[in-house]
């Protein structure tokens, strides 16, 4: 589970010793996020985002449980009860804004977390399972966020529910009955609202469960690091506590400043004004778009406007949208380069920064734009690149690329190639080991 040099939990207080014998929960915590978990010493700030994502999940669960105490999941009163929370419930406005913007913050954090995984190839052996579980968490997050957005029962809620469940109607033969079954009616109504509420309450705990598996799988090989070189000796690691608890604490402080700035000064900046209009099944808003975090996938959905052989355009769009995330499941086997970190992969890096990132930026922008030219054509080009990147470019690049030389170890990368300083840090004066990283 951990490196042989990990510190062992040794409770000094008799109560803790007694507890350790009966239920070694403090030992579990000590070995998971305490001094008993050695972590590479060179993690940069991109490695803060896992902890931040965990924080966001807790934030959403706490604010969500509070909101559920005041919200009524019935189509007749759902909108009014949301307004009741905003106007009448003590601090209700803050709870709801914290929850709505908390969802956005959660996605920001998770997207950076995924970006870190893509650039530093955190999905590669021996960490495939961590990546696969992460994709599962992301899919669960998308489902949860979608159902949560329906609950206020405003215009965007209603039409979002209609359009997203309409995706299932694209499936041949069973599509229409499936959509009716999912909604419990022929259009979104009370039955749909009730089940969305039930599932929106359930899924975060399912996510928490998969997060535990995600962290469990992480603690077997331990964290990756920016060099992509595996830990070799004790000198390559520092204990999680106090080193990374402190670093994560600092990151959390920065995150909270930004989050609170949005929460208190622009709480509606990421929402749609139309959702303050009660749901009306007789009239569609002129411009319906999902929340910003779904835009890239929405752009892929809309990029398919022509039938392909016997497959209708609508079905193609739906398949492509789901495939754009499902392709991540195959990533550990599509990228065959033994080198993990993008820092040492010159060709991969070019395609990453000048191919994948711009393509995703275009998809993001087009997903929020109206369904007209030039956005449709731009989404088509970007979708094409997106799939080509994973299915064609990555396998070819990993076959033909000549990676840059890797450092021998994390310690060598951090302290320089001086054998003495690297292997016997205690023998070296402090200022020398401080100066070395600047030179490397």
């Amino acid at each position: 589970m951990s490196f042989p040099w990990a510190k062992e939990y040794q409770p000094s207080h008799p109560t803790m010793r007694w507890l350790d014998e009966k239920l070694p929960l403090p030992r579990l915590v000590y070995n998971a996020i305490g001094a008993g978990y050695p972590v590479p010493r060179n993690l940069n700030y991109f490695w803060n985002f896992g902890v931040l994502a965990g924080f966001c999940l807790m934030l959403q669960i706490v604010t969500g449980i509070i909101l559920a105490m005041h919200y009524a999941p019935n189509a007749l009163v759902a909108f009014d009860s949301t307004e009741h929370i905003m106007r009448d419930v003590n601090w209700g406005w803050m709870m709801r804004y914290a929850h709505a913007n908390g969802a956005s913050a959660f996605f920001v954090v998770v997207y950076i977390h995924i970006f870190r995984g893509l650039f530093f190839s955190s999905y590669k052996a021996p960490r495939e399972m961590i990546w696969l579980l992460g994709v599962v968490i992301f899919l669960l997050m998308m489902a949860t966020a979608f159902m949560g957005y329906v609950l206020p029962w405003g215009q965007m809620s209603f039409w979002g529910a209609k359009v997203i469940t309409g995706l299932f109607s694209a499936i041949p033969l069973v599509g229409e009955p499936l959509q009716t079954w999912l909604l419990g009616g022929f259009a979104p109504d009370n039955a749909a609202l009730n089940r969305f509420f039930s599932l929106h309450y359930l899924l975060p705990f399912v996510i928490a469960g998969v997060v535990i598996l995600h962290i469990w799988a992480l603690h077997i090989p331990g964290s990756s690091n920016p060099t992509g070189v595996e830990v070799k000796t004790a000198a390559d690691t520092v204990p999680f506590h106090p080193y990374y608890t402190a670093k994560d604490g600092f990151g959390l402080g920065v995150f909270l400043i930004l989050y609170c700035a949005v929460l208190f000064f622009a709480p509606n900046a990421l929402g749609h004004p139309d959702n303050y209009i009660p749901a009306n099944p007789m009239s569609t808003p002129a411009h319906i778009v999902p929340e910003w975090y779904f835009w890239p996938f929405y752009a892929i959905l809309r990029a398919f406007t022509q039938d392909f052989l016997f497959i209708p355009a609508k079905l193609m769009g739906v398949i492509a949208m789901f495939a754009s995330i499902l392709v991540w499941f195959f990533l550990p086997w599509l990228d065959r380069s033994p080198v993990r970190s993008g820092i040492y992969r010159p060709l991969f890096r070019k395609f990453f920064w000048f191919g994948l990132i711009p393509a995703m930026a275009v998809l993001f922008y087009c997903g929020g734009a109206p369904a007209e030219e030039p956005f449709v054509m731009l989404s088509q080009i970007a979708s094409l690149y997106y799939f080509a990147h994973f299915l064609i470019i990555l396998p070819i690049v990993s076959a033909i690329e000549r990676p840059d030389p890797l450092p021998y170890s994390i310690t060598e990368k951090v302290l320089g190639e001086d054998e003495n300083s690297a292997l016997a840090p205690s023998a070296v004066p402090v200022e020398k080991s401080d100066a070395a990283p600047a030179a490397s």
Binding site: K162, G184, F186, K314, L315, G317
Partner: protein, 188 residues
């Protein structure tokens, strides 16, 4: 006694080597399996439309006051239905189209009731992802083919409610309906 059951005495073996315990295992697991699958039926079908939702699936509309060129939105199954009184010009435009060239080939006559050619009754639900198309209300955008236009993803329907341009795969759905008199239509 238990020992005998595990090893299987000759008395317990039938000719093909099946022990009594094997039979009990298979029977028990089968019964539990059938029961488990049977429990899925209520668990799944509770999500299907309930009786009150199904009961609300018939609507009567008085069409006497709808002038040629006008349309009204009625509610059927909590969804809009467009009831449009076609003008002679709109009927002519619909008839002029070569049916074979359409994405979802249907003539106007296949989409209206005999003797009521001027009444086009369709669901007001875009067949792409379910938005309500524009064109039924006064002054709304009727799209490039003079029928309906869906603003969500840009599907254009012609004067017979047939898909002509955009991502929608099929024509606007014609619900079950009948003329109970010259001025009353019962939908559903």
């Amino acid at each position: 006694m238990a020992e005998n059951a595990v090893t299987g005495t000759p008395e317990e073996m039938s000719g093909d080597g099946v022990r009594r315990r094997d039979f009990i295992n298979i029977a028990a697991v089968s019964a539990a399996g059938v029961g488990g699958v049977a429990v899925l039926v209520p668990l799944i079908s509770q999500m299907a439309p309930s009786a009150d939702v199904l009961a609300a699936s018939s609507t009567e509309v008085d069409i006497s006051s709808i002038q040629p060129g006008q349309a009204v939105k009625a509610v059927f199954r909590k969804q809009p239905v467009f009831i449009k009184h076609l003008t002679a010009k709109e009927i002519a435009a619909a008839d002029a189209v070569n049916v074979g060239s359409l994405r979802d080939p249907q003539s106007l006559d296949e989409r209206v009731k005999e003797g009521h050619r001027e009444w086009l009754i369709t669901m007001g639900v875009c067949t792409h992802l379910g938005c309500v198309p524009l064109g039924a209300g006064e002054g709304e955008n009727k799209g490039e083919y003079g029928g309906y236009f869906c603003p969500c993803h840009g599907s254009h329907y012609d004067t017979a409610g047939r898909i002509r341009k955009g991502p929608a795969p099929t024509n606007l759905e014609v619900p079950e309906y009948e003329f109970t008199s010259d001025t009353i239509v019962q939908i559903g």
